[in-house]
C-alpha cells in the first residue's frame, strides 16, 4: 500500500530530473523551462519552494547534490553545452526562525563541451570534491575543486575520449579509499555495429590516468541511463543499465597475475537479470539506499520496481502508472489538485497524503 503527497512543481514544462539531498530533506527539480527549483520540507512534512532560478539557456537535463560536507551545493547540466555548480548562500539578515534569507549563486560555469552535456555527477566524497560530466560529443570530463572551501575554482583534471556519444554516467560509490575510483558510462549511439554501449573506466594512481577497463559487449542497443548500486559490503559491484530492457550486471574484481602486474582491476562481468517488462525502451534506472530495490521507467509510461531476494535473484514487485481518470473519484485528492501557488498561504502546514488506488490482486506487495 502506498500513499502519496502531491507537490505542485510549478515548472512551465516537463521535469527532467528530481534529486534529493543527502537526508531527503531538500529536493531539486530541473526542467525544459530552463529553471532549477529547490524545495524544502518543514517539520510537518510539507514541501515548499524556497528557490527558483533560471539556470541555463536550454533544457536542464540533470540536477545533483554534493555531499553536505561541502555545504549546500548543486550541479546542473544542460542542452546549452554547459554545466554549472551552484552554492546556496545564507544572507546576513536573519529571517524567520533560524534561517536567514537564502539564494543560490552560480559558482562556476563549465564550458568545455561543444555539445549538449548529458549527465553530471559528483564523485564519492572520500576523493574530495570531484565532478564528472559527459557529453554528446563523446567526452567524459573530470573536474575538481582543489580548495573545497572555494567553489568558484574548478580545474579540468581529465578528458577521456569515449568515441561514441555519451548519454549517462555513474560513479562507483565505493566507501573505501583502498578501491580505485571507477566510472561507468553509457552511450545512446543507435548503431549496433559500433559494439558495446557501456564502458567501465578506472583511475590509476600510478599513471594518473583514467583507463578503460571493460566494454560491455552484451549491450549493443542505445543506453539511456546507468547506475551503480550502493555497496553493501558485497564482493561485486552492482550495475543497472537502462537500454531496450532493464539489465542488472555484477562486476566482480578478479585478482590474477595480469591484473596485479598492470595495476588495473580486472573485472568479470555477469548479467544477473534482464527484464523486458517495460516492453519498450527503458529511460531511467534508480537504486534505493541499500541497493536492494531498483526503480526503472520506460516508454510504456510506467515506473517498475524490482527487488532482490535473499539469494540475490531479482523479481518485479510493483508498478506505478499515471491515470487521470481516477482524479475525480478521490474527493480529498481534488482539493489537493488546486494549485496552491502564490495566491494564498497554505491553510495547513501539515502534509496531506492520500492513498494510491491500485489495480490489484488481493495480496500486498512485499516492498521490503
Amino acid at each position: 500500500m502506498f500513499e502519496a503527497q502531491e507537490i505542485n512543481a510549478e515548472h512551465k514544462d516537463l521535469i527532467h530530473d528530481v534529486a534529493y539531498d543527502y537526508y531527503g530533506d531538500r529536493m531539486a527539480t530541473c526542467s525544459s523551462d530552463q529553471y532549477v527549483k529547490v524545495w524544502d520540507h518543514n517539520k510537518d512534512g510539507k514541501w515548499t519552494e524556497t528557490s527558483s532560478f533560471k539556470a541555463h539557456s536550454g533544457s536542464v537535463w540533470k540536477v545533483t547534490w554534493a555531499h553536505p560536507e561541502f555545504g549546500q551545493v548543486l550541479a546542473t547540466c544542460s542542452f546549452d553545452r554547459t554545466a554549472a555548480v551552484w552554492e546556496e548562500i545564507v544572507g546576513d539578515t536573519p529571517g524567520p526562525g533560524e534561517r536567514g534569507t537564502r539564494h543560490w549563486v552560480r559558482r562556476t560555469n563549465l564550458v568545455d563541451s561543444r555539445t549538449s552535456v548529458t549527465d553530471i555527477k559528483f564523485g564519492p566524497k572520500i576523493q574530495g570534491l570531484q565532478l564528472a560530466t559527459c557529453s554528446a560529443e563523446g567526452i567524459i570530463r573530470i573536474y575538481e575543486a582543489p580548495d573545497v572551501m572555494n567553489l568558484s575554482q574548478w580545474t579540468l583534471q581529465h578528458e577521456v575520449q569515449c568515441k561514441l556519444a555519451c548519454s549517462c554516467l555513474s560513479w562507483n560509490p565505493s566507501l573505501s579509499k583502498m578501491q580505485p575510483q571507477m566510472l561507468a558510462v553509457g552511450s545512446d549511439d543507435a548503431n549496433p555495429a559500433n559494439g558495446g554501449k557501456v564502458f567501465i573506466y578506472e583511475y590509476s594512481e600510478n599513471t594518473r590516468r583514467w583507463t578503460k577497463l571493460e566494454t560491455i559487449s552484451s549491450i549493443t542497443e542505445p543506453v539511456n541511463d546507468i547506475s551503480f548500486a550502493p555497496n553493501l559490503g558485497r564482493s561485486f559491484h552492482l550495475l543497472a543499465v537502462a537500454t531496450k530492457d532493464v539489465r542488472i550486471l555484477h562486476l566482480t574484481p578478479v585478482e590474477d597475475v595480469q591484473s596485479i602486474q598492470s595495476g588495473l582491476t580486472k573485472l568479470e562481468v555477469e548479467s544477473v537479470a534482464q527484464f523486458e517488462d517495460h516492453n519498450s525502451t527503458v529511460w531511467r534506472v534508480c537504486w534505493n539506499i541499500t541497493g536492494t530495490i531498483l526503480a526503472t521507467s520506460g516508454d510504456d509510461g510506467c515506473v517498475r520496481m524490482f527487488k532482490m531476494n535473499y539469494i540475490k535473484s531479482w523479481k518485479p514487485v510493483a508498478v506505478l502508472k499515471g491515470d487521470g481518470s481516477h482524479v475525480t473519484s478521490e474527493p480529498q485528492k481534488t482539493a489537493q489538485a488546486i494549485p496552491s501557488g502564490l495566491q494564498m498561504p497554505p491553510l495547513s502546514q501539515t502534509a496531506r497524503y492520500f492513498k494510491l488506488g491500485s489495480i490489484s490482486q488481493p495480496r500486498d506487495v512485499p516492498w521490503h
Binding site: 527532467h16 539506499i289 510493483a318 506487495v365
Partner: protein, 642 residues
C-alpha cells in the same frame, strides 16, 4: 519470495499522457513525476506539454502500519523480546530450547496485549477508523493464531510426539465461545437448563473441544438427568479412556482400552439404548467416530481446524505430530473447503504439513510490514528449524533468509524519525550486510536537533564507524559556518578531525580579528588544550590568544616572551605579521624592559624579512625606531648585570 505484481495508480492526467519517472529519496520513499525522454539531438525548445498543465511531483511512501501510534508498544516490546532472544542464543550455558519457548510465549503475549489495546480503541471510534482498527485486529488475531500453532509444532518439546492435548488447547484458546457459555450456564440458574436454546449447542461444542467433564456437568443439570439414558451416558463418558503420556500406559495398551470402550459404546448404540434422546444418541455416535454423525455436526465448527482437533480426539487420540497434516487435509475435504481456503487456512495447513518455507512465504503477505515474518523467522532460525531445509531445497540458505528479513525490517524502522534506534538493533544482528547498511543509512538520518545529532554520533562510535561520526561532525561544522557561527563550527571541526577545515576556520577567526580587533568564542579558545594540535593554524590561533590574554592582563614580560617565540616559530600566516608587529610596538616602548637584546634582534630580523609587506609601509619607520631604542636600552641594562 513470491508476491503478485500490483499496479498503483498515480491520479494525474499529465502523468498518463507523458509517462512516469522515479527518483528515490535516501530512505524508503520515492517521488514520481511526469516524464518524457528528450533526445539531445533534437532542437531544444518547449515540449508539447509546456505550460499546458501544472506538473507535479508525487512523493510516495509506503503506508506502514507499524508506524501507527497504537502499535508503538508492539514494536518496542517485541524489540525487547528480540534482543533477549539474541542474548539467550549467545549464552551457551542456557537451555536454548526452553528459553526459546518462553520467548515465543512472550512474543504471543505482546501480540495479545496489542489486540487488547486495539479492542479498547475500537469502541472509541466510528466510521472509517473503526474499519481500519477492525482490519488491524484481523491481522493480529491471525498472527497470534499462526504463532501459537507454530510454537506447538516447531518450538515446543512434545513428549512422545503426542500433540493432541496441545492442539486442543490451541483450538480452545481461539474458540472460547463454548467454554464461556458453559461457564455462564453452570454458574447461573441451574433449573431447567435445557430450556436455554444454547444448551445443546454448548454441550456438543464442549464435547468437540474434548471437555468431557464439562459435558457431564451440563448433562447433570438436565431435568431428565436421573433417567436411565442420562445415567448411562454419564457412565460411558466417565469411563472414556484418556491418553496421558506420563501415565505409564503404552500407546498399544491404550489403543486396546480405547477399542474395548468404543466397541462397548457401539453395541449400546446398536441396541438402540439411546434412541429416546436424539441428542444423547448423537453424542454417542460422535464419540465412536461414526462418519454420518460427524457430517451432521460439521456445521457446529466454524473452521476446519476446529473439526480437526475434535475428530482426532475421538478417532485418533494418540495421533503423532507428523501425522497431523494428512488428517488436516482430510478435514478440509470433508468440509468442502479445498477451493475456498483463505490465507489463514493456507498458512495453518502449511504449518501442519511441516512446510516451514511455505509458512514463511505466506506470512510475508500479512500487511504488517514484515513484523511477523521477521520475528517468527528469527525464532525458527534459532530453534534450528530452517537449517534442515537447506538439504531439501536447492539454493536455500537459512542464514541468508534470516538476515534478509532482519535487514528489511531494520531498514524500514531506520526510516522512521523516532524508531531509527530500534531499527539499528536489528541491523546489528545481520552478520554480513548489517554494518554496511548502518554505514549507509545512519549518516543520512536528518540531524534535526543537537540531541539527536549526539545520539547518532554515539551510535556511530559504538559501532566504531569513525568516518561516519567524523563526516557528521564535518557537516555540522559546515552548517554552523554557513550560519556565521564560527565558534560552533570550530567545535565541530575539531570533532571531525578535519585538518584543512580546522585551519580554514582558524584563519576565519584571525581574519575577523584583523578586521575588528575582537576575538570571538574566547571560551572555546580558552579550553582548546591538546585539540590545538589539529592544525598549525589552530596552534597559532591558540598561542596568539594566550599572548592576547597576557597582554590584556598586563603581564608584559610573559606576553613579550610568547610573542618572540611566535615570531621565531614560522607558523604565522602572512596576513597576520602586520598585527603582531603593531602589537609589539607598545611592548618595545614599555617603561619596563620586556625584550632582551636577543629578543630584539629576532624582532629586527623578522622585520627585515617582511619589510616588503604593503600594509607595513607606513609603520616600518616607527617599528625600526622602537626596536633600535629598545635594543639600546636592553644592551645598557644587560651590560650593568655583567
Amino acid at each position: 519470495m513470491e508476491g503478485d505484481l500490483k499496479t498503483f495508480i498515480i491520479p494525474n492526467d499529465l502523468c498518463r499522457r507523458t509517462g512516469l519517472a522515479a527518483s528515490w529519496t535516501p530512505i524508503n520513499q520515492m517521488s514520481v513525476f511526469a516524464y518524457e525522454k528528450r533526445n539531445v539531438r533534437q532542437k531544444d525548445g518547449p515540449s508539447n506539454f509546456a505550460s499546458s498543465q501544472p506538473s507535479s511531483v508525487f512523493l510516495l511512501r509506503q503506508h506502514v502500519l507499524l508506524f501507527q501510534p497504537i502499535l508503538r508498544k508492539l514494536v518496542n516490546e517485541s524489540n525487547g523480546a528480540f534482543l533477549n532472544l539474541q542474548g539467550v542464543i549467545s549464552d551457551k550455558t542456557l537451555d536454548h530450547k526452553s528459553e526459546l519457548l518462553k520467548l515465543s510465549r512472550q512474543y504471543r503475549s505482546i501480540v495479545r496485549a496489542c489486540l487488547e489495546d486495539l479492542q479498547d480503541d475500537i469502541t472509541k471510534v466510528e466510521g472509517e477508523d473503526k474499519e481500519t482498527l477492525q482490519d488491524y485486529i484481523t491481522i493480529f488475531y491471525s498472527i497470534e493464531c499462526i504463532w501459537h500453532l507454530c510454537e506447538i509444532l516447531f518450538v515446543d518439546t512434545i513428549p512422545g510426539n503426542i500433540v493432541l492435548p496441545l492442539l486442543l488447547d490451541w483450538v480452545r484458546f481461539h474458540f472460547p465461545k463454548h467454554e464461556r457459555n458453559a461457564a455462564n450456564m453452570l454458574s447461573g440458574d441451574l433449573i431447567g437448563l435445557e430450556a436455554n436454546p444454547e444448551f445443546w449447542p454448548t454441550v456438543i461444542g464442549s464435547l468437540l473441544q474434548g471437555r468431557v467433564k464439562v459435558v457431564r456437568a451440563l448433562l447433570k443439570q438436565h431435568s431428565a438427568s436421573d433417567s436411565h439414558v442420562f445415567r448411562l451416558v454419564d457412565q460411558i463418558l466417565k469411563a472414556m479412556p484418556v491418553y496421558n503420556v506420563f501415565s505409564g500406559t503404552s500407546v498399544s495398551e491404550f489403543n486396546i482400552q480405547w477399542r474395548h470402550w468404543t466397541v462397548d459404546v457401539q453395541s449400546k448404540i446398536d441396541a438402540k439404548m439411546f434412541v429416546t434422546s436424539p441428542n444423547l444418541n448423537l453424542i454417542m455416535r460422535l464419540v465412536v467416530g461414526e462418519e454420518t454423525a460427524w457430517t451432521e455436526i460439521q456445521s457446529h465448527c466454524e473452521t476446519w481446524y476446529e473439526l480437526l482437533a475434535a475428530w482426532l480426539f475421538y478417532t485418533e487420540p494418540t495421533v503423532k505430530i507428523f501425522e497431523v497434516g494428512q488428517f488436516a487435509k482430510h478435514c478440509i475435504t470433508k468440509m468442502r473447503m479445498r477451493n475456498n481456503m483463505k490465507h489463514l487456512d493456507r498458512v495453518l495447513l502449511a504449518a501442519m504439513e511441516f512446510d516451514v518455507l511455505q509458512v514463511i512465504k505466506e506470512i510475508q503477505h500479512m500487511s504488517e510490514n514484515g513484523w511477523f515474518v521477521t520475528h517468527l523467522t528469527d525464532l525458527l532460525y534459532h530453534a534450528g528449524k530452517l537449517s534442515n531445509l537447506e538439504k531439501e531445497v536447492e539454493t536455500f540458505s537459512a542464514e541468508k533468509l534470516h538476515e534478509s528479513f532482519l535487514l528489511d525490517y531494520g531498514s524500514l524502522l531506520m526510516g522512521h524519525k523516532s524508531l531509527w534506534q530500534v531499527g539499528l538493533s536489528y541491523l546489528d544482528f545481520c552478520p554480513t550486510e548489517g554494518l554496511k547498511a548502518i554505514e549507509l543509512i545512519l549518516p543520512r538520518i536528518p540531524l534535526e536537533t543537537e540531541a539527536k545529532t549526539q545520539k547518532i554520533l554515539r551510535e556511530a562510535k559504538n559501532r566504531e564507524l569513525v568516518h561516519v561520526a567524523q563526516s557528521i561532525c564535518k557537516v555540522q561544522g559546515m552548517k554552523s559556518l554557513k550560519r556565521g557561527r564560527l565558534g560552533n563550527a570550530l567545535t565541530w571541526a575539531l570533532k571531525s578531525q578535519d585538518g584543512p577545515f580546522t585551519s580554514f576556520l582558524a584563519d576565519k577567526f584571525l581574519h575577523e580579528y584583523t578586521k575588528d580587533g575582537k576575538l570571538a568564542s574566547t571560551d572555546l579558545l580558552d579550553n582548546l588544550g591538546s585539540c590545538m594540535l589539529a592544525s598549525d593554524r589552530l596552534i597559532f590561533l591558540g598561542k596568539y590568544y594566550e599572548f592576547h590574554k597576557l597582554y590584556q592582563s598586563g603581564e608584559y614580560k610573559e606576553a613579550a616572551n610568547l610573542l618572540v617565540s611566535l615570531l621565531a616559530s614560522k607558523i604565522i600566516p602572512n596576513y597576520f605579521w602586520y598585527v603582531l608587529f603593531i602589537e609589539a610596538i607598545p611592548l618595545l616602548e614599555s617603561e619596563e624592559i620586556v625584550f632582551s637584546s636577543n629578543d630584539t634582534y629576532t624582532i629586527i630580523h623578522c622585520l627585515e624579512e617582511k619589510e616588503d609587506l604593503p600594509e607595513l609601509k607606513d609603520k616600518i619607520e616607527i617599528l625600526r625606531l622602537a626596536a633600535a631604542r629598545n635594543l639600546s636600552r636592553a644592551l645598557t641594562y644587560e651590560a650593568q648585570l655583567v
